[in-house]
Homo-oligomer: 409 residues x 2
C-alpha cells in the first residue's frame, strides 16, 4: 500500500477551503448548501450520468470539464435536483456561478455547480445567490469545514461520507481527499450521485481524466441501491498542483501510485454509499472471481446486488441462494451453472451453498448466523477464467419503501 | 371485438379436463399439484424464460415443444421450482411424465411438466408420482376442475387467474381458455412464470407458435413485479382441434380472429398477474404513445413500471413525476425531454404533470386523488412518432419486503 489514511475530506489537500450554509432551499433547520474552493486554479476531470435526462447542472459541469478551463470552485445544494427544469434550470446554474464570480473574483466559467434532491422543481435562485454570499465570507481550510460541507450535501443519507489519504511523488507528499452523498436513485452508470475529490497533485488534465474514468469503472459504477440511475450523477476531481511534485504527464510509477490512492478513496466512498443506501440495514457485497473476462465479472456482480429478491433475502438472513443464481442467469452473461460455486461470507464464517450444479447439505443455522452480520458477501467462483469484480449494494427493507413512498412531503 | 368472454379457464375448450391434489410437496393443508389433460393429441407451442439458469422442467418442455411431438398433458406443482437441481432434477421430470404414461396410457414424451416455488431444492419424486396417480383418477371437464387447478398452482399469489373466450372460425365456435400464476420473480423475458392455455382450435403448429410468440411480446413480456426474470417462466398452449373448424394454415382472417382472442386472454392474465404482484396494493400501468418506434415504446414503458422509485411513488400517491422521467432517461431509449408530455390517469381523472420540458402548475390534491385509485396509469406522449406500448406492474410496498425477506420459511 503506497498511501496512508489521514483525517479530513475535501479540505485535506493544500489550498482547498470549504464552507456550508443553511440557505433554506427546501430543508428547514439544517445546512443545505456547500462550496469547495481553491484560489489556485485547478485542472479538473469529471464523469457524469449516462441518463438521457440530464440535470441542468450536469450539462453545465460537462461544459467546464470538457472546455479545458481551469476550475476554482464547486457549489452544491441539496433538496432540489434542478433536473427536468428546462432553460430556467440552466439559468439557475449561471446565476449561481455569477454570484461566486462577484463574491470571490474568479471567472464564473470556472465554477461548477451540482444539485441533488427532488426532480422537476425549480431552484429558488435568490436563496442560492444569498447562500453563495454567506459561504464566500466563511471559507475555511479546517477539517471541520470539509466535514460540514459533506453534511450539507446529504439528502436521505444517514451519515456523511468523506475520506483523505496521502502518498508520495518524488520527495513530495501529495494529499487527496473527497466527499460524496447517496443514498437513493443510486445505480451509477458513469459515476455516482454526487462526489467531489480534491488534491494538490500536479498532473496533466488528460491523465487526471484517464485515472478517474478507469477507477470509476470498478468503484462508483459498481454500487447500486435501487437500480435507478440518477439524472444528476456527477463526480468531479480538482487538482491544484500545490504539492509541487514533478508533474505527472506519463503513465509512470507515480501515476500508478496516484491511481492506487484514487482507487482507495473512491472505493471507500462507494462502500459507504452502498452501506448507507436508503433504508439499508446491511452492506451487501457480491464478489465474482475466476470469471471468463472482466465484463462478465462486472455484469454478474452487479446483477446479484441489484436483484430485489436477493436484497430481500440478505435482509431476512435467508440463505435462499437460488435467487443469486437466478439473478446471474438473467444478467446477460453466458455461463454454465455446472461450473459455479457459491459461498456466503461474513465475519462469522464462510459457507458453500451451491457446488457446480449440486446442492451441498449445509447448516441453515450457521448460514443465518453468517448472514446476520452488518456486512455480508456473496462469493461466486465461476471457475472459467481469471477475471474478477466486486459490486456493492445493500439490503431491501420496509424502510426503503417508507422513505420513497412519500419523499417529496 | 370478435370474441366473447365465457366462464371458466383451462377446461372451457372441448376435450380438456383437469384435476388437482394436495401432494404435500412443500405446502401443508392446500392443493399443490395440478394436471391438464386432453385425450385428443394436441399440437402445442410454448415460450420460455431467457434466463441462462433454466429449471429442469423448462428444458424438458422445450424439448417437447420443439420435437413436434403431440402434447397430451401438463403436470404442474407449486412449492419447489426444480431449478438449480442438476441431473436429479431432470430425472424428476421424467419420472413425473412416466407416472402419467402409466396412469393414462399416453406416451411420457407427450407430457409437459412445470414447477414453481423455491429454487435450489430437490422435488420429492414419490409425492409427485402419488399426486399424478390421485389426479389421474379424478380428471374432470367441469369449470370447477379448471378453477381448482388454477388455485393449486399458486405460490404467493393472492387470487387465482383464469379466463376463457369463444370466437368463430367459419361456422364453428372455438373456445380458448387459460390460467396463469405470479407473483414474485416476475419480469418475464419470453413469457411469465407459468401460464397454460387450452383451445379446441384446429391450426398448424407453425402458426400456433407464431401467434403465441407475437402476442407474448405485448402481454406477458410487458409485465414486471420486481425485475427478476425467473428461471421457470413457461407459457404453453395446447390445441386439440375438436372445434372442427377448417384448419388455419395461413395468416388469413381466421388467424387474425384467433390472434385477437389470444391477445385478449394473454392481456387479461398479464394484468391480473401484475395487479397481484407480491405485496401489491395497486395495478400500475405505463402507456407510451407516439413513440419513434415499437422497440422504444416498449423499452420506455417497461423502464417506468420497473423502477423501484416510481413504484414507491405510486404506492405513496406521490405525484413525483421526475422519477418517471428519470426511469425513461436511463431506459436506453433515446429521446428529447422537450418533446415529452406526462399525465397521471385513473378513474378519478387525468392530469398533466410535465409539458415538454416545462413544469405546469398542478393541483397536488387532485394528483393524489387520481393516484389513490387501485389502478393508476402513467400516460406518456413522446410526440415523436406513432408507435405505442403498454406495460403493467404494481406498486412497491413494505409487504413485498416482508414476503421476500423470509420466503423459504
Amino acid at each position: 500500500m503506497s498511501y496512508e489514511h489521514i483525517a479530513g475530506g475535501v479540505t485535506a489537500a493544500k489550498g482547498f477551503s470549504a464552507a456550508s450554509t443553511a440557505a433554506g432551499i427546501k430543508y428547514v433547520g439544517r445546512e443545505d448548501m456547500a462550496m469547495v474552493y481553491s484560489k489556485e486554479p485547478c485542472i479538473c476531470a469529471g464523469t457524469f450520468t449516462t441518463n438521457i435526462v440530464k440535470a441542468a447542472c450536469v450539462l453545465w459541469d460537462k461544459d467546464i470539464v470538457h472546455s479545458g478551463n481551469p476550475m476554482h470552485a464547486v457549489v452544491i445544494n441539496s433538496g432540489i435536483a434542478n433536473a427536468c427544469t428546462g432553460n430556467e434550470g440552466f439559468d439557475a446554474c449561471i446565476k449561481t456561478a455569477e454570484a461566486v464570480e462577484e463574491a470571490l473574483g474568479i471567472p464564473y466559467s470556472t465554477v461548477a455547480v451540482a444539485s441533488t434532491g427532488v426532480i422537476g422543481m425549480q431552484l429558488p435562485v435568490d436563496k442560492l445567490v444569498n447562500g453563495v454570499g454567506a459561504m464566500s465570507d466563511k471559507l475555511s481550510d479546517t477539517i471541520e469545514a470539509g466535514t460540514d460541507a459533506s453534511k450539507a450535501i446529504m439528502t436521505t443519507d444517514t451519515v456523511n461520507k468523506e475520506i483523505a489519504v496521502t502518498f508520495t511523488v518524488g520527495n513530495k507528499v501529495v494529499t487527496l481527499g473527497g466527499m460524496s452523498k447517496g443514498s437513493g436513485m443510486i445505480h451509477p452508470n458513469m459515476c455516482t450521485m454526487l462526489g467531489f475529490l480534491t488534491t494538490d497533485l500536479k498532473i496533466s488534465k488528460a491523465l487526471l481524466q484517464k485515472a478517474l474514468s478507469e477507477v470509476v469503472q470498478d468503484t462508483f459504477n459498481m454500487i447500486t441501491v435501487d437500480g435507478d440511475t440518477s439524472t444528476n450523477d456527477t463526480l468531479l476531481i480538482m487538482a491544484n498542483g500545490l504539492a509541487d511534485n514533478v508533474c505527472i504527464d506519463s503513465e509512470n510509477a507515480d501515476y500508478q501510485t496516484f491511481k492506487e490512492a484514487l482507487f482507495a478513496v473512491c472505493e471507500h466512498l462507494s462502500r459507504k454509499m452502498a452501506a448507507d443506501g436508503e433504508g439499508a440495514s446491511k452492506l451487501f457485497t457480491a464478489e465474482v472471481i475466476n470469471a471468463k473476462n472482466k465484463t462478465a465479472a462486472r455484469v454478474l456482480a452487479r446483477a446479484v446486488v441489484s436483484s430485489n429478491l436477493s436484497k430481500a433475502a440478505i435482509y431476512g438472513c435467508d440463505a435462499n441462494f437460488g435467487r443469486f443464481l437466478c439473478a446471474m442467469g438473467y444478467s446477460g452473461a453466458v455461463f454454465d451453472q455446472e461450473d459455479v460455486e457459491l459461498f456466503f461470507v461474513s465475519e462469522y464464517g464462510k459457507l458453500k451453498v451451491f457446488d457446480k450444479g449440486t446442492l451441498p447439505e449445509f447448516d441453515e443455522e450457521f448460514a443465518t448466523k453468517i448472514m446476520s452480520s452488518k456486512e455480508v458477501t456473496v462469493l461466486i467462483n465461476m471457475n472459467e477464467g481469471d477475471a474478477s469484480a466486486t459490486a456493492w449494494g445493500c439490503d431491501l427493507t420496509e424502510k426503503y419503501v417508507e422513505i420513497n413512498a412519500d419523499y417529496r412531503s
